[in-house]
């Protein structure tokens, strides 16, 4: 059964945090591996992404930069996953945070402060930071020369700004026409732009404004004039907002749960595709006999 974030103090179950973590990760296929939940797969509960990369010694400096970037990506993804799972795991030791908070009555039917919901918000924000770092990594690795502040993985459909895949008439894609992992990363970027405008809107509101969460729905049954998500998206896109009409969303916890999980799953595969992309670029160098095999900078994330 899909749980919602526990908004109220709950009893700690018999399951330890470690077991819960493993079970949730397996249930939702959140480990960085390709076991697909197969219980006979020896590494099913591990993060391993075989890089199998040996860098030519002539590029003695860059491998460490590449490694640093990839390790950071894996770390960020693991943090996003941990935040998500903590949002699902009721810990009595944190319940005091939920009950002690004094909140003014805003009359907008918002739910009480919940540390579990905060974990979920952090998970979503962290998943998006994985996308940002992938864009920056691609910019550096492929030497596209996009200034840091303009590097982006996703954008709104009507924004002028370009993603790393669109920059300079899709230079990145033109340079790597048959690279399937890169094509996959581009496809995820397009999907975020065209199919997940609400997800992006909520993420942006979480980071820059605020989101009002509700335990019970449907939202339009409340007497308070709640924002219609569709209308909100349109205002986001058209830039029609003012101090009287700030950008914020009203979201049901169940819906938010699905959004966080979806973003996390996209971040997971984006990390795996990024690793495959580096493999596809680096491995052919092994067959280039003009360069000596480099230091054994090859391994497995565990």
């Amino acid at each position: 059964m899909t749980k919602i974030f526990p908004p109220f103090p709950q009893e700690v179950g018999a399951v330890s945090c470690e077991d819960f973590y493993e079970q949730e990760s397996l249930n939702h296929n959140l480990y960085l591996n390709l076991c697909l939940g197969d219980t006979s797969c020896p590494g099913r509960n591990k993060d391993w992404a075989d890089l199998g990369i040996v860098f030519p010694i002539t590029e003695y400096r860059r491998p460490y930069v590449v490694w640093s970037r990839l390790i950071e990506l894996v770390g960020d993804y693991k943090t996003a996953r941990t935040m998500y799972i903590l949002s699902q795991y009721p810990m009595s030791s944190l319940d005091f945070l939920a009950v002690d908070l004094t909140k003014p009555s805003l009359m907008d039917y918002r739910m009480n402060y919940s540390p579990y919901l905060e974990f979920a918000k952090l998970s979503l924000i962290k998943s998006f930071s994985v996308f940002d770092k992938i864009a920056t990594f691609l910019n550096e690795y492929e030497m596209l020369g996009i200034p840091d502040r303009r590097v982006r993985y996703w954008r709104h459909p009507n924004q002028q700004a370009q993603t790393v895949f669109e920059h300079n008439s899709s230079q990145l894609m033109r340079n790597n026409p048959d690279n399937m992992p890169l094509k996959a990363l581009e496809s995820i970027s397009i999907e975020l732009r065209d199919e997940h405008q609400l997800l992006i809107g909520v993420r942006n509101s979480l980071v820059h404004h605020y989101v009002v969460f509700h335990v019970f729905g449907p939202l339009d049954s409340h007497s308070y004039p709640l924002s219609d998500p569709e209308e909100r998206i349109m205002k986001d896109l058209s830039g029609e907002h003012s101090p009287d009409n700030p950008i914020h969303y009203h979201v049901l916890l169940d819906d938010f749960h699905l959004m966080v999980l979806h973003a996390l799953k996209l971040a997971r595969v984006a990390v795996l595709y990024t690793i495959r992309f580096v493999q596809s670029k680096e491995n052919p160098k092994l067959h280039d006999l003009t360069v000596a095999p480099g230091p054994a900078v090859s391994g497995i994330f565990r």
Partner: protein
């Protein structure tokens, strides 16, 4: 039994060639009856005679353009031909797919959740190389009809075409949990695994999926080639050689098999000389 009943009975019992002949006779006798043309189109489509299937479906559509069934069948037959007919040129393939997608769009204006039409449209878009849009449509189809194995497999295929082989695996896996011998899911699962990783145990898994697929359809050459690919990745030269020889029994002039047999032979000669 009259001609109509006989044709219907042949069609229902799966005697397609005989049913096609019976419907040909009916169409000649009563050329204004669109239902006969439609059934004739169905027979030819099932017999993979795409040209005749299209001609018959067009005739049915001309006779009854307001019947949505004639439109949807023509769309499906055009898109099937674009996907499966090896005799078509690229231009013909594209034209058929475009026409099929256009017919699907017309049908969807009145019935936007028609899963069969959505599915056909997605297939047409795939032929046109619009995999992102095809994926989006198939995601909607799978939501509406989660038990439809072919839709799940095609969603996996769209993802695979976009390079998203790791996500495709989930969809093939769902199908194989329900239908373990779903041939199309087995082959595509193997392909997606090889695309996703070259780690040994993943390639071993892919190899097993190809072998299972060959048990169901031993005559499908691409599966044999994928099998060879995995055997070579796993270092099983003898098994690869056996599979390559099998390919040559099916297609004696197959360049892939000839090339790799030659490579294996050369590698052996090299090893022997090194040992000596």
């Amino acid at each position: 039994m009259n001609g109509v009943q006989e044709a219907k009975s042949l069609l229902e019992s799966g005697q397609l060639e005989e049913a096609a002949e019976a419907y040909e006779r009916l169409c000649t006798a009563q050329p204004e009856t669109w239902e006969f043309w439609l059934n004739l189109a169905y027979c030819y489509s099932a017999l993979e005679n795409h040209g005749k299937a299209i001609t018959s479906a067009r005739r049915a559509f001309e006779l009854a353009p307001d019947e949505s069934v004639t439109r949807s069948n023509l769309a499906a037959i055009l898109i099937d031909a674009a996907m499966l007919d090896p005799t078509l040129s690229e231009e013909q393939r594209r034209d058929f797919a475009l026409e099929g997608v256009r017919l699907c769009d017309q049908l969807l204006t009145n019935d936007q959740d028609n899963t069969r039409v959505l599915y056909n449209k997605a297939n047409g878009l795939s032929v046109l190389g619009e995999h992102q849009e095809a994926k989006k449509i198939l995601q909607a189809v799978v939501k509406l009809a989660p038990q439809w194995d072919d839709a799940l497999v095609n969603l996996g295929n769209s993802l695979k075409s976009l390079g998203r082989s790791i996500e495709a695996l989930d969809w093939y896996k769902r199908v194989l949990e329900r239908t373990p011998e779903h041939w199309n899911a087995l082959v595509n699962m193997g392909e997606a695994l090889v695309m996703s990783s070259t780690i040994r145990h993943v390639v071993e898994d892919a190899n097993r999926y190809f072998r299972r697929a060959l048990e169901t359809r031993p005559d499908y050459l691409p599966t044999w080639k994928w099998l060879v690919h995995t055997e070579l990745l796993l270092g099983n030269e003898a098994r690869a050689e056996k599979a390559l020889k099998h390919i040559l029994t099916m297609a004696p002039s197959d360049e892939f098999a000839q090339y790799w047999l030659h490579q294996i032979h050369q590698a052996r000669v090299g090893k022997r000389s090194a040992a000596e």
